[in-house]
Amino acid sequence: MNKSQRVFEVSRTLLAILISLFLAMIIIFLVSETPGKALWLFLFGPLDSLRHFGNVLELMIPLLFTGLAISVMFSASQFNLGAEGAFFIGAIGASFIAVNWHLPPVIHPVVAILWGGLLGSLFCGLPGFMKVKWGSSELVSSLMFNYIAFFFGLYLINYFLRDVNAGAMVSYPFQKSARLIKLVPRTRIHFGIIIAAVMVIITTYFMYRTRWGYRIRVLGRNERFAGYAGINTNSAILLSQVLGGFIAGIGGSIEVLGLYRRFTWQLLPGYGWTGIIVAILARNNPAYIPVAAFFLAYMRIGADIMSRSTDVQNEFVAIIQGIMILLIAADSFLAGYRHKMVVKEARKTQSGGAA
């Protein structure tokens, strides 16, 4: 992709975001009695205190992981939607180690996170395995696995880890040594954000600077071509799914060890689904994932703040997100301009070559 095309893609994405935000505005004005206040809180609420801005960064951490995971899996053109389940099962695995094992401080979370990552990679690897071995649709099987992970995870927590004295469906408290340290006082921003940043760098390096990353990207562009070029497509597919699952799994582990004292989820957290939007916004490029994750986290927190003190419900973010995906993923959206631009460029290089 040359420079002007990249500029075009970025401005196209920005335009799609602007249109979605404009729609958000219309919805707010339609349903709210105090539209001015609602809109203000939605757009600037996250900036009004350190605590609120901290919330944005806290929410950004899981989105970074699931966004990265999905960008790797989607780069191979595999619609594996298992990031949701891998995140959940990773969190459960880490909780078991955090509750039951006794290890020194730094080693404890490392072991728990790696265990969560391993479970996640198995979880996302399974649909990939079924795909390369038997050709079962990874889309359908990963969706089913998400439900299985959810119910099986709840079973494990409720029958093996449940604290009967707690009065709610929660696990025993984690060992102190397993929890991640907080970085910024008066917020809940934890060490996970640093791990996430490192993961972004490693994943970008892997996808764009190593042989295997290249193979995965070629495969995603055109599986048949990759096969002709001598790439073992099956192992590249498997590798991308296992890696994606690993990233989602450590994401889940880090989320529970960083934010909570016990395992408390009774529902799938939904970060796997939001991760899809993150990956689409970032065009599956790991380097852009932080921008996309920050943006979505900001929007979510803005909507939460808005719904707490006005009559607009925060679910309207889901509508905005859906419209954003539709516009950004629409190849023909502004395609006329792109076509004109490409033709113009081609003319320019042609006349340049002739002269």
């Binding site: 359908v140 696995f145 119910f151 689904w273 679910e315 859906g322 419209i323 995906i325």
Partner: protein, 311 residues
């Protein structure tokens, strides 16, 4: 174990199987039509949710269950149409477009539910209507079979009738032939003058109509209210059922019944002392196992054909 068999062979259980199969069957037929046109419709889940809410709202507004059903189907068709617009006109990847529609459906239904019912979880404050149950004279009185087959919601009968209608439509009408041609080989189809885009639009709208019926059944038959995310993955299960059914209406019906069986089983087993988490897992686990068996079978078959060609 005795208790287990008592449950399975009771007529209540048989009745329950048909009852829970209905929404899956509608969605499976929806998946079938779009798959025949060469489009994977994973928006079925979202379409069912939207239709379920539309049915509740409009039946409460007009106090007519059938008008609610009508609007549910219209909304299903419209959502199918918009999936077509984004994937066919704007060239969005159809899977991503469907994921977006599922997002909009999941959040949007809760958003609208709060606006009309003042509650984010359930629509019980709306006086919505339920579609009538039908007793079939004659069959009604047969011992054993009567209680299983008779007295169902009218949509249950429509669902099983649709299996035949869809079969006839796909295999015996010119439009059905066009749909299958487009799905089989779009270049060949367009070379003989079939409009690929138009045919896929029709298939997606019809797919939306079927999911619309399924959604209406969820909120106006299965239960008498709308609750958030009430479809609980049935649209996704339908995709598996359609694939396992060999992309044929009758096969789809049989696999839907199989999932219905496991779904009903998970409802009944809660009476026994099995952890509910395990029981809730059954339909999804059955889906995966079924999918594996089906695809293993298919790869074996493909290998056999390949070997035959060699010799």
């Amino acid at each position: 174990m005795d208790q287990f068999f008592q449950i399975i062979f009771s007529s209540e259980f048989g009745y329950g199987v048909l009852r829970v199969t209905t929404p899956i069957l509608f969605a499976t037929l929806g998946a079938l039509i779009s798959d025949k046109a060469g489009v994977i419709n994973i928006a079925l889940e979202g379409i069912m949710l939207i239709s379920a809410l539309a049915g509740v709202i409009f039946s409460a507004m007009t106090q007519s269950a059938f008008f609610g059903l009508f609007m549910a189907v219209i909304f299903g068709a419209l959502t199918g149409f918009s999936l077509g617009y984004f994937s066919l006109n704007l060239k969005t990847d159809v899977i991503l477009a469907a994921i977006a529609i599922n997002f909009i459906a999941s959040g949007g239904t809760v958003f609208v539910l709060f606006l009309v019912a003042g509650d984010k979880g359930i629509s019980s404050s709306l006086a919505s209507k339920v579609l009538p149950k039908v007793n079939i004279p004659g069959i009604e009185n047969i011992p054993g079979l009567g209680p299983v087959l008779s007295g169902h919601n009218i949509l249950t009968y429509i669902a099983f009738l649709s299996v035949f209608i869809i079969w006839f439509f796909l295999y015996k009408t010119p439009l059905g032939l066009r749909i299958r041609a487009v799905g089989e080989n779009e270049h060949a189809a367009s070379s003989v003058g079939i409009s690929v885009v138009k045919t896929r639009y029709i298939a997606l709208v019809l797919s939306g109509v079927m999911a619309g019926f399924g959604g209406a059944y969820m909120s106006m038959g299965y239960v008498s209210w709308f609750s958030r995310d009430m479809t609980a993955g049935r649209g996704f299960i339908a995709l598996a059922a359609e694939a396992m059914g060999g992309a044929h209406p009758v096969g789809g019906m049989l696999t839907s019944l199989l999932f219905g069986f496991f779904d009903a089983l998970s409802n009944s087993l809660q009476l026994l002392k099995i952890p509910f988490e395990f029981v809730s897992m059954i339909p999804y686990l059955a889906t995966v196992i079924g999918l594996v068996i089906y695809t293993v079978q298919k790869t074996k078959q493909a290998k056999r054909i390949l070997e035959q060609e060699k010799t």
